[in-house]
Structure formats: structure tokens, C-alpha cells
Amino acid sequence: MRYAMAVDTQKCVGCNDCVVACQTENDVPIGHCRDWIVEVTTGTYPDLGLEIRSERCNHCANAPCVRTCPTEASHYAAGGIVLVEEDECIGCKACITSCPYDARFIHPEGYVDKCTFCIHRVEKGQNPACVSVCPTHAMIFGNLDDPNSDISKAMATRKWKSLIPEAGTEPKVFYLL
């Protein structure tokens, strides 16, 4: 089992529904977010391009945050999901510094927080909250080890990229182009 997510940049309209759905689902305190939207404009008027991405923790297969965590609070859970064990987190921020994607933040309660791929939902057979709410169905969540999963099929038929591949983190959030 290898959980992954693909975000279709052709569909995403940057509405932020994924952000607010995550916030309510996971009680993310106001002022923080586990996922966020990036818009990149290219060209000059009127020859323009716009890429919109819903970004979050990439649940890297080779995760620097896990490597640098002194207490093993940051760890790989089932399906390769990268999690933080709140009680073991000492708030030292080593992981925050080592993550090339700025995916982590200090929760007001003192521990480090970030996207969990909504593991509590995934375990019940539901999609992560962001995926299940997206009005344009821009996100696909699933198991990369299953060649028949929607995500495997999308990755096989569409052009895609991941973010900062040169960092060698082996991200598992992909962007369909």
C-alpha cells in the first residue's frame, strides 16, 4: 500500500474549498492551514498562462522531516503516510527546517502539525476531506501499488510533475498537467 494524491491543475480553480474543509474537519486553528493554494502566472498580456495548485505535505517516501526528528515523533505510518505523534513531539522545529515544502507549522498547543492525508477518514474508506469536498473533482487519492486505482490510471495516462524533485524527497503528491 502506497497512498498518494494527484491534483489536476487543469481542473483546480483555486477556490480554497480544500483548505477550509481541512480546517473544519481537523480542527486546524484559525490562522494556520495544512493545505494551501499556489497560483503561478506566466507570460505577458495577452499571452498568459496560469497554474493553480492545491499544496500540502507530500508524504515523501524519503522524508527529511522523519530523518531529522530527534524523538521519532515524525514517522511513517501505514501506507507510507507521514505523521507526527503529538505526545512525542518536543516542538524543536528540526523537521520544519528540513522540509523543503514548508508543509509544517507549530500548533498553538506546542506540537508540530501538518497534513495527515486524513488518515482517520482513509481508514474508514473515505477520501481525505479536501478530496471529498473539491467542487471540480480536481484531486484523486488512492493506492499507487494498485495499478487499477484511479490515481495509478491518471498517472499512467496524464502528464504530471511533482514539486522540487531535485530535493530527492520522493514526494507522493503529484500535479497533473
Binding site: 477556490c15 502566472t41 505577458t44 498580456y45 482517520h120 471540480t136
Partner: protein, 744 residues
């Protein structure tokens, strides 16, 4: 146990099993969802969203403490298809917002100064009842008007009808979609309605003129656009701004603002002259084709190029693209269409272009919506008012189908030309200060009132001017009328309280009934409480409150003789027009003395150093309504003014700097706004998102954040056909200090 702890436990416990045997399939979530609902620790209550008019049905989930946790879509709902937009998802913030209105207030200071005393509901009702009775005695009940936006309006509407007035105005008509309805009614005998009857799901080509879906987050169309483009549909977007949807379009036409009419006429010219129109359809259903053909004969793409700056070959290519997709093509009418004052005519042109392409009444074009015929709880006949809002402006706006909020506002300002001006306003859920153009005029009108009652959940600019403020509980804390929206298939939806009203807030039905009883009009609200009323009404359509609490949304069958696409399924069809045909040449317009065929008129251009003010929407906000919502302001808490880099260079502007905008009449924005330098806007225009720049300091998150475009809309071009207020003819320049003169 708080939710965080629960998540932890779930993560450790039940988890391992599920991982070992992956019984689930993410692609089938819709099917699994009902079982997967976390019944263990949450309860769900049906609702329909109140954050915009789309009224998506969903579920409010409460935790074990009975606190509202989250809101999700109802899978059976054709408005939401199980997915809410960001505002709907963030609707929780309407409930948690600590700045809400908390108790009835009666004004003790000057209007607009926000000085009030707390009052009991009984005091507030007495004050209102006395005020209304006094106006009725001195001027007649027709001198009271209701301005309304949202569900509660129905109850206050019944209240003023029982009282003897039928002046019920929604700014969504004259300030928004009115011209579209009139333009389409003149052509097809029927309006576009709401939700719009466009079959985007099955279209092959979607043409958007200034509509910025995706930023304008009307849930249905945004979902269906993604669906349609996924199936290969193309989009043609006409917009001076590179909008989100322009970036997803096959063709983006960066038109010179205010020239859309020329493009529409040139498109019709190409489609007629290249023989691309649907001949059979036109022959069978249309009236006045030859007149139209002659009318557009000279309106070539070359002619339009000089006006629109869109190259002739692009006009031809896009016209052919539409024709290739015909009849599964939608030239979308848009929604906020009050731009330049000739808007009804422009929307007529849109309607006519659709007719040439044969898309009305066809799959992938415009469908015929159906709705459940729904009986309201019986009440005695309302008294017949002696006068109506139309009498306030005799001989003008003859095709206005609904009351004009702006017209009533004008007719409130005392004038020797009228024997009676409006004396009382009831304002429900609409921040007229930001909604109506020309604030100075609005304030003059308010100043002349004997009574102004405002009902809202939040303090707004308008609440500051009220004599009495009635705090409504949010939609998550109340029942409302059953939603009976028209759609492809008829449905009804229930909204019920998911939590007890916070503070001393009450639902609109309770207020309207209470005031009616105070005035001796209780017999118009003959139900004991809202549950009794809804139960009776649901029974008439074979349902019950118990059933609706379980389902949230109930679907009904369409009648067999009422097909979704009558131009495909019926042999004959008679349109509700004078000729019974689709009127390319409008006899109704002609009869009332308006142009029967739309003409291009040049609109005013920005003076040197000024830029056309274009405003629009952001996906996470609905105007003032969400401006202070903690979840949504967290996503966007101020607007910015979009400026083309060339313009920025000329003025030496820096990204992120704050400045003021000053319009052609010397009116300066009340608050400063942040500059966003971007290639995405034309050099002759600036753009900002509407709904910011609040000056009511009771809105702790919204106060002073960003600027209000409404402040700067002082010049209004009134649509002579129906009284719409064209608001896109205002021009702004930059100012680096508040209040002082600027040398550039």
C-alpha cells in the same frame, strides 16, 4: 474527548484492520458514504446553505457535545451534488463569529452613528408595530418597502403584504440579474431563472462574457464546467481580465471593456453570413430572422475589430467553434449583468445568438427546469394595495418585472414631483450601503425615513442607520421555508436547526409572526410554530417533517408532458411571446418604444490617467455577508487592486503598497487598498473584488480591510427598459494620501 483525541484513537485502533484488508474503493466513496458517516461521535442535521442564492443542500455535523463541527454536501442534491463550495464549507464561521448581533437594539443616537440600547423582543416589536401603524395612518401602508436578500425575506414579505404593501425589492434584480431576465423574456417568453437553466454538464462549447466562474463560486456551474471540459468541451472566455476560467479556455478574448455588444453583433453577422445558423430551428421557432439578417449585415468582424480590439479572424474562428458545437453550445447570460445601462439589449443579443445556434430547449444548451408545485400554509387573502412601486416612476422602466431596490431608494428621497415618498424600510439581510450604487443618494433616502428596521445576523454598515435592529440567528440555528428550487429534476430540501440559537437571536419566521400579532395581523400567520407550518406543507406533497429530517433532499419525478429539452422532444412548441415564437425581432420591446433589435452604442472611455473600475468576486466570499467570517477571512481578509505592470511602471507603484482610489467625481475610497501588479489585467482597467472596505468597527476582522468598490460607484447608467443600475462606467485613478490633492 475532544476531536483531536478522537482522531488519535481512531488512528491507533480501528486502523490496522482496514489497512490490512482494503475493502474500500475510493472511487466509490459516494456509495460507501452513508455507512461511513461517523455516527459514533457525530450527528447530522439537514440544511441548505444560505451563503449564496444557490442554496446547496447539505448536512451539518455536530460533535458529542452538540457543537457544530462541519458542513458537508448532500449527495442527493442537484444543486451541490454532495459538494459545497468553500463558503458553504466555511459556513460554520457564520455560527461561531463572536461579532454577531446578539440582542435586539433600539437606536438612541443619530442615524449612522451606531449608538443603540439593548431592548427586549417585546419592546422592539412594539416600536416597529407603532411605527408601521403611524405610517399607515399618515401616508398609507404602500409607503413601506421591504428590501430583502435570503430566506427570511419570505416571512417579512408576508408581513408587509398583510400590512397592505407589496413593495418587495431584492437588490439581486435591478443591481444584478434583472436585465438578463428581461432580455430573455423578450426573446423566449421566459427568463433564465435561478439557478440558471444552462445545461453545462452536456455542452460542447461554453461561451462566457465577463462571467468568472471559479472565482464566482456558483457551485453548480463550477462543477459542471469541470465535468464538461473533462469530456472535451471547449470554453471561449471574453474578459478584459485573464480570469481563472480564461486560463482554462481554448479561446480567451481580451476585449476592450464596454464593447461586448459589438462582438455579439459581429458573431451574429458571421453565423448568419457564413450560413452557420440552425436553419431548421430558426424556420420552425423564430420570428424576425430577415430583420435580424438585415440589421447585422454591416456589422462585420472588421467593423467590430475597431471597437473591441478583437482580431477579425478570432471573431470568425470563435463563431465557427460555436457553430460546430451547435446545438450543444451555451452563450452564457451571466448573472451580474448591470454594467453600462444598455444591458437588457446586450442580454437580448446573447439570447438571440443562442437562438441562431439552436441551443434553447436542447441538450447541452438551455434546459426547461421543473419544480414541485408547492402549496403554502393557508392564510386569508392579503389586502389589495392602492399603489405599487411602479407608480413611483410612471412611464419609465416599462419592462421591469420585479420591484427595483434602487427605484424605491430614489422614490424615498422627498421630491415635489411625487405625492408620496417611501416612509418606512424593512431591510432583511442586505447591506444596502454596499449593494446600491450612489451611496450619497442612499443616505439621503435613509435620512428621510420615519422608520427603518434592519434584520441581520451581523452588524453591517446598514445596521448603523436602523431605528431597530433585530438579530437573526444563523441558518444553522433555524428552520426556514422548504427549498423548492427549479432544476433538471424537481426536488425539495429542508433546513432545520443543528444547534440552539446563540445569544438572544431568533429566526425570521418568529419575528415576522410576532410583529404581525402585535399589529393584530396574527391571522395571516395562523400556524402555531414553524414545524406545524412545514408539516402541513410537506403533507401536501406526500412527505413529512420526519421524512425530510432523514433525507434532507427529496427528489420528485418530472411530469411526462414536461420534457427537459422540449425542442428535441416535442413536435410543437408555443413560446410565451406575442408571436408565440422566439422573437429575434422583439415585438414587446417595440410596443413599449424600445429598440426591437439591439444596437451598439459607444460608452464613455476613461479620461487620461484614469482606469475603468471592474469589480468581481473571490471564491471564498459572498459580498458583505462573509466579510467577517473567521474561517473565510482566514483565506482572504482584504482585497487588492489589480494593476497592469505597464501602468504600475508609469505610476511607480510597488507590489503590496497601499494607496487610495479616487473616481471621476472626486470621490476617494474610504480606506486604502493594496496594489497587486499583475499581467492578468488590461492596461485600461483596474480590478478589485467586491465586498471589502467595511467601515463598521463592530466587524473586528473586516473593519478597514481593503476598499469598497461601492464607495467609488457614483455614476450610474440606468437601463431605460427595466431600471437596472449600470455600474461599470466608473473610472478611478491612484492617490497616495487620503484626502489631499495629487500631482502626477
Amino acid at each position: 474527548m475532544n476531536r483531536r483525541e478522537f482522531i488519535k484513537i481512531a488512528g491507533v485502533g480501528a486502523g490496522s484492520l482496514a489497512f490490512a484488508t482494503p475493502l474500500f474503493d475510493f472511487s466509490k466513496e459516494e456509495i460507501l458514504a452513508p455507512d461511513a458517516h461517523p455516527g459514533m461521535y457525530s450527528k447530522r442535521t439537514p440544511t441548505y446553505c444560505e451563503i449564496c442564492f444557490w442554496k446547496c443542500a447539505g448536512w451539518v455535523h455536530t460533535n458529542d457535545k452538540g457543537q457544530i463541527w462541519k458542513i458537508t454536501g448532500n449527495n442527493d442534491d442537484p444543486h451541490s451534488n454532495g459538494r459545497l463550495c468553500p463558503r458553504g464549507t466555511g459556513g460554520v464561521g457564520m455560527y461561531t463569529d463572536e461579532d454577531r448581533l446578539k440582542t435586539p437594539l433600539i437606536r438612541t443616537g443619530e442615524r449612522g452613528k451606531q449608538v443603540f440600547r439593548e431592548a427586549t423582543w417585546d419592546e422592539a416589536f412594539t416600536y416597529i408595530a407603532d411605527g408601521l401603524k403611524k405610517i399607515a395612518e399618515e401616508h398609507g401602508p404602500e409607503c413601506v418597502a421591504l428590501f430583502t436578500h435570503g430566506s427570511g425575506g419570505k416571512y417579512f414579505g408576508d408581513l408587509i403584504k398583510a400590512y397592505g404593501s407589496k413593495n418587495i425589492a431584492a437588490p439581486s434584480y435591478a443591481q444584478c440579474r434583472g436585465p438578463r431576465e428581461v432580455g430573455f423574456i423578450a426573446t423566449y417568453g421566459e427568463g433564465v431563472q435561478s439557478p440558471e437553466r444552462v445545461d453545462i454538464r452536456d455542452t460542447r462549447c461554453l461561451v462566457l462574457i465577463g462571467s468568472h466562474f471559479g472565482e464566482n463560486m456558483h457551485n453548480g456551474p463550477v462543477q459542471e464546467i469541470a465535468q464538461a471540459t473533462g469530456k472535451g468541451a471547449t470554453i471561449i472566455t471574453v474578459d478584459p481580465r485573464f480570469s481563472t476560467v480564461a486560463s482554462k479556455s481554448k479561446f480567451w478574448l481580451p476585449i476592450k471593456p464596454a464593447t461586448d455588444m459589438a462582438l455579439l453583433l459581429a458573431w451574429m453577422h458571421v453565423i448568419i453570413n457564413e450560413d452557420l445558423y440552425d436553419k431548421e430551428y430558426i424556420e420552425k421557432y423564430a420570428y424576425g430572422f430577415e430583420d435580424l439578417k438585415a440589421h447585422v449585415a454591416q456589422m462585420t468582424p472588421e467593423w467590430a475589430y475597431g471597437i473591441t480590439t478583437i482580431k477579425p479572424e478570432v471573431i470568425r474562428e470563435t463563431a465557427r467553434e460555436m457553430a460546430n458545437a451547435s446545438p450543444r453550445v451555451i452563450v452564457h447570460p451571466g448573472r451580474h449583468v448591470t454594467w453600462y445601462g444598455d444591458d437588457t439589449q446586450r442580454l437580448r443579443a446573447v439570447a438571440m445568438l443562442n437562438a441562431l445556434l439552436g441551443s434553447w430547449g436542447r441538450r447541452g444548451g438551455y434546459y426547461y427546469p421543473a419544480k414541485v408545485s408547492f402549496k403554502s400554509f393557508p392564510h386569508p387573502a392579503f389586502p389589495k394595495p392602492a399603489r405599487s412601486w411602479k407608480d413611483a416612476f410612471p412611464g419609465k422602466y416599462k419592462l421591469a418585472g420585479l420591484a427595483l431596490a434602487s427605484g424605491i431608494c430614489d422614490a424615498t428621497v422627498p421630491s415635489s414631483e411625487r405625492d408620496c415618498s417611501f416612509k418606512g424600510w424593512i431591510v432583511n439581510g442586505t447591506n444596502l450601503i454596499h449593494t446600491l450604487p450612489n451611496q450619497e443618494n442612499t443616505l439621503k433616502a435613509i435620512d428621510a425615513l420615519d422608520l427603518m428596521v434592519v434584520i441581520d445576523t451581523m452588524p453591517m454598515e446598514i445596521t448603523g442607520y436602523a431605528d431597530v435592529i433585530l438579530p437573526e440567528c444563523t441558518y444553522l440555528e433555524r428552520y426556514d421555508n422548504i427549498r423548492v428550487g427549479p432544476h433538471r429534476e424537481p426536488t425539495i430540501a429542508l433546513r432545520m436547526p443543528a444547534a440552539k440559537p446563540k445569544y438572544n437571536t431568533k429566526p425570521a419566521w418568529w419575528m415576522a409572526k410576532g410583529i404581525a400579532e402585535k399589529m393584530g395581523l396574527g391571522h395571516y400567520f395562523a400556524w402555531k410554530d414553524i414545524e406545524e407550518k412545514l408539516e402541513w406543507e410537506l403533507k401536501q406533497v406526500g412527505s413529512s417533517l420526519e421524512e425530510m429530517k432523514r433525507l434532507g433532499v427529496k427528489k420528485f419525478q418530472r411530469d411526462d408532458d414536461d420534457p427537459l429539452y422540449p425542442m428535441e422532444d416535442l413536435d410543437d412548441f408555443e413560446f410565451y411571446t406575442n408571436t408565440g415564437k422566439i422573437e429575434l425581432y422583439s415585438t414587446a420591446m417595440e410596443d413599449e418604444g424600445y429598440d426591437p433589435l439591439p444596437k451598439y452604442t459607444a460608452h464613455e472611455e476613461p479620461p487620461y490617467g484614469y482606469y475603468r473600475l471592474i469589480y468581481g468576486r473571490a471564491p471564498m466570499h459572498t459580498f458583505s455577508r462573509t466579510a467577517n467570517n473567521p474561517n473565510l477571512t482566514d483565506l482572504m481578509d482584504e482585497n487588492s487592486v489589480w494593476v497592469n505592470p505597464k501602468v504600475a511602471q508609469e505610476w511607480d507603484l510597488k507590489n503590496g503598497q497601499y494607496l487610495w482610489l479616487e473616481n471621476q467625481d472626486g470621490v476617494v475610497s474610504k480606506t486604502p487598498i493594496k496594489v497587486r501588479i499583475t499581467e492578468r489585467i488590461r492596461f485600461d482597467s483596474v480590478y478589485m473584488v467586491h465586498g471589502f472596505g467595511h467601515t463598521n468597527n463592530k466587524l473586528t476582522r473586516a473593519y478597514g480591510r481593503g476598499a469598497s468598490d461601492a464607495d467609488l460607484i457614483t455614476k450610474v447608467h440606468i437601463d431605460p427598459v427595466m431600471g437596472g443600475t449600470g455600474m461599470r462606467g466608473n473610472f478611478v485613478t491612484f492617490r497616495f494620501e487620503a484626502g489631499k490633492e495629487l500631482s502626477s
